[in-house]
Subunit: 230 residues, 2 copies
């Protein structure tokens, strides 16, 4: 049931790819394997981080809630990704919450274990640094696009982000089941506004929907729409 780190699907692609066999064994012995139902909170804004999550399966959103109840998604997390490292490094409370978008499984590594690892393995530390730099760059992109692009463009971009993050290439066209509420908090707009532009995309044959499931038929068109302002 619980995956073994030395045998993990993400052994060569995760943050821990430069760990030794022994280091992985050590992590494996101390880690904790958790299962989350769709919609379940993995960690909550304001709480103290006790360790790091390593997503084994599923989809996770990292988001913040405004006082008016509006939500903004900061990051999408997929299997193989680590989760919750920023607060851990800064040693501050979580500034956002992580919520499962699907049934999700994740390993939990304690803070001491993690800190010990990055203190002793320089390669992991420098991989972590590069990861932070990468995520910072992505976040800056998001910021700029939010400020400069209209909703239609941002929606196209969000759909492409979902595709590039979660496409397993098992089907001809990428499909995802996502509530319009969630989609709108990725785009940073109102639910109804997202629905309206989605309807436009449907009329233009770019996407199709069935209930909450969205299928991307023409990723090329989305790319074109999303980069009108680049």
């Amino acid at each position: 049931m619980t995956p073994n780190c030395n045998n993990c699907e993400f052994k060569n692609s995760s943050l821990f790819k430069n760990c030794s066999h022994d280091e992985l064994n050590h992590i494996n012995d101390s880690k904790c394997f958790n299962t989350y139902k769709k919609g379940q909170v993995i960690f909550h804004e304001g709480n103290r981080p006790l360790g790091l999550f390593c997503v084994f399966n599923g989809k996770v959103k990292v988001s913040r809630l405004g006082s008016d109840g509006k939500e903004q998604v900061i990051r999408l997390v997929k299997k193989g990704d680590t989760l919750g490292y920023r607060s851990l490094i800064e040693n501050t409370k979580y500034s956002a919450s992580a919520i499962a978008l699907d049934d999700t499984q994740a390993c939990f590594i304690s803070a001491t274990e993690f800190n010990n690892l990055i203190d002793t393995n320089v390669k992991v530390a420098s991989d972590l640094m590069r990861m932070l730099a990468k995520v910072l760059g992505d976040t800056q992109d998001k910021l700029v696009h939010l400020a400069m692009k209209p909703v239609r463009e941002r929606l196209a971009e969000a759909l492409l982000l979902l595709k590039s993050t979660y496409d397993d290439k098992k089907a001809e066209h990428f499909s995802i089941s996502i509530s319009r509420e969630d989609l709108s908090s990725i785009v940073g707009t109102a639910k109804e506004t997202v629905i309206r532009f989605l309807s436009e995309f449907k009329e233009e044959g770019i996407v199709s929907t069935r209930g909450s499931e969205i299928t991307i038929l023409r990723a090329d068109k989305l790319l074109q729409i999303s980069s009108l302002y680049d």
Copy 2:
């Protein structure tokens, strides 16, 4: 003229606070001291980073330009701050430009020198990591506020950001000379919109202006306005 690292005002507060005397000497010997006039470009979006800047004096904005000419400020940089590290760590082209908001002086440390330092001094590397985490957190805050707060709130926040970044506490009230164009690209809105809300703030006795100079009279009120949605 050129400041000596081992005697620098920011020796104990900069990214290099955990460098040894010898390391600082080494940096000092290889560094390059540059002067930039107000409005001058320090580095330009799309170029390859050749090293790291350490701001000695002045004010700098890091911003990106959209294809329509609109600008979005990503970060404000003050004396003692380092500049240009993200692209350097990721080893990618600059994704944004750095432009002097005032006459500015900065030391330039070559990429090899810098990489050598973080490879050999673990403390500097871990300070750098914490700095990245901090800046990432700040950027996420910006993103969320941009998505959730209306312009009035964001303007109040931007004025407080300017104050907290550049206030040298030499005067009773904090003043800054900033073009409405620059201010609007910090807030992420149109110039005229910023001016309108500034005028409101003036009527309410929160700020006063003289030409492009803005004086903050009631920071408490700005804080109140900016946090309506928190």
